[in-house]
């Protein structure tokens, strides 16, 4: 009976959280960067994380992918603890294999694209399909081409990253992450390294993904995008979540002083830019 109830709960409109972050702490030496973060993300939800530089946004996202080893607290991905396993003598770092298994459902896109420059667009996308999923060349290339098509980069399949613009490289990076068919996508300032005229093409791809129901966590400085696409916006400052809510509420009626200040500074800066 209990199981049936649980199932019913999972199927509820909002669904059970696909990501849960509980009392997350992260230190770099003596600097405490995350001071007890609580966060839940539900399936198909698009969550944008905003906040001033150095507030810990990247560190939070990277901890949620275990690219940073958090010290205290928990990150649960689809209900499974990421990065650690319980032993009789306490919590131990998990094996690489288990970590890979838990975060297999996550695709990640970085500010610096991080494509492999010695491989063509196509083999950037097929690499993981070939060596991790052991797909044969033909099916891997087929899957890769479908994903390149999706980001509008099919025609550049045989070019090298160095021959592409930043926006194109980022779209390839998105295709590479999508090819693994993740259920969750993490983006860490995906447009911050781009020339302004190239930002739109990447945001469009992301917007399409959001519409298709992908669960997304996006660290961004693009307030317009957050307002348009996010279901929920999280404002971080100095290692804590200061405020969160629907974009309209957050942007129009900020409750905290820190958010108000942050939005004012941002407005000034963007109107100053013209």
């Amino acid at each position: 009976m209990a199981d049936a109830e649980k199932l019913a709960l999972n199927a509820a409109p909002n669904g059970a959280p696909i990501i849960e972050v509980r009392d997350l702490h992260k230190r770099f030496g003596s600097l405490e960067v995350l001071k007890g973060i609580e966060l839940e993300v539900r399936p198909s939800e698009v969550v944008c994380i905003i906040g001033p530089s150095g507030s810990g946004k990247s560190t939070l996202l990277r901890s949620m992918a275990f690219l940073e080893e958090y010290e205290d607290g928990e990150v649960l991905i689809e209900g499974r603890l990421l990065g650690y396993r319980q032993t009789p003598s306490g919590r131990r770092r998990d094996t690489d294999r288990n970590i890979d298994a838990v975060r297999n459902c996550i695709g990640m896109v970085f500010q610096q694209f991080n494509l492999w420059p010695h491989k063509t667009t196509l083999s950037n996308v097929t690499e993981a399909l070939r060596v991790v999923q052991k797909m044969d060349r033909a099916s891997a290339e087929k899957r890769a081409m479908e994903n390149l098509e999706k980001v509008g980069m099919r025609s550049k399949a045989h070019e090298y990253p160095g021959q592409l613009s930043g926006g194109q490289q980022q779209r390839v990076a998105i295709a590479r992450a999508l090819a693994k068919q993740p259920r969750i996508m993490f983006f860490d300032e995906p447009t911050s390294a781009l020339d302004p005229e190239l930002v739109g093409e990447v945001l469009n791809v992301m917007q399409t993904l959001a519409k298709e129901g992908m669960t997304m966590v996006i660290v961004t400085h693009e307030m317009g995008f957050a307002a348009r696409v996010a279901d929920r916006v999280i404002f971080m400052d100095q290692g804590v979540v200061v405020e969160q809510g629907a974009p309209a509420d957050l942007f129009e009626t900020p409750r905290s002083n820190r958010l108000r200040q942050f939005l004012e500074t941002w407005n000034e800066r963007s109107s100053g830019d013209g």
Partner: protein, 211 residues
């Protein structure tokens, strides 16, 4: 006869370099390993082989092997010494090359579930070789020249052959000049081969330096 010696020197050096690539890579990943004792052992090996003269290493191996019940011809001892020596230098070359590759590329691979071994094999090593090619050519040139040291254990490579010719002809000046020219011809060819590969690998790669 001199030509024979030159061919011998060239093949011997090439042999040591190729074996050295393999062991140098192993040692390099040992130096960068997460495992503390493996890292320590690699550092000790690297420091010992980089910090002692090749001639001394050669003599120790030559006299030690029979002692340990391993009976190898002098040639075997020579190849082992050259390989173990170049492995230490190559490992350092590779380590330097790997450090030029942005860590983000590794993080992207990890997020895709690619194993450490596959990351090293498919992502790091190919890029690293492009970066270190000039240093690797340098190392090959220096092994080629240093291989003259193995004449002391009686391997008839280029220098030893020259000495033998001198012993019968009593024309040291001409013979050693010829030997020097033979070394020079080989090292110049190596440099040219290196430049050729650099140009070829440089194709679609210009951005690697920009990234």
């Amino acid at each position: 006869m001199l030509a024979e010696g030159a061919v011998f020197t060239a093949s011997l050096s090439l042999c040591a370099i190729v074996l050295g690539v393999f062991f140098g890579l192993l040692l390099c990943f040992g130096l960068m390993s997460k495992n503390k004792s493996l890292r320590f052992a690699s550092k000790v090996y690297r420091s010992v082989w980089r910090g002692t003269p090749l001639l001394v290493q050669l003599l120790i191996i030559f006299y030690f092997l029979p002692h340990a019940g391993i009976n190898l011809p002098p040639l075997g001892a020579a190849v082992i010494a050259l390989t173990m020596n170049t492995a230490a230098f190559q490992a350092e070359i590779y380590r330097g090359g790997l450090m030029t590759i942005p860590n983000g590329q590794i993080e992207a691979a990890r997020m895709l579930g690619i194993s450490t071994f596959a990351i090293r094999k498919n992502i790091l090593t190919p890029q690293m070789f492009r970066v270190v090619l000039p240093s690797l050519i340098n190392e090959t040139i220096s092994i080629l020249k240093n291989s003259s040291l193995i004449s002391v254990i009686g391997v008839t490579e280029l220098l030893r052959t020259s000495q033998q010719i001198v012993a019968t002809t009593y024309r040291p000046f001409e013979v050693y000049i010829l030997a020097a020219l033979a070394y020079l011809a080989m090292t110049i060819s190596l440099a040219a081969i290196g430049r050729y590969f650099e140009r070829r690998l440089g194709k679609g790669q210009r951005a690697a330096h920009v990234l």
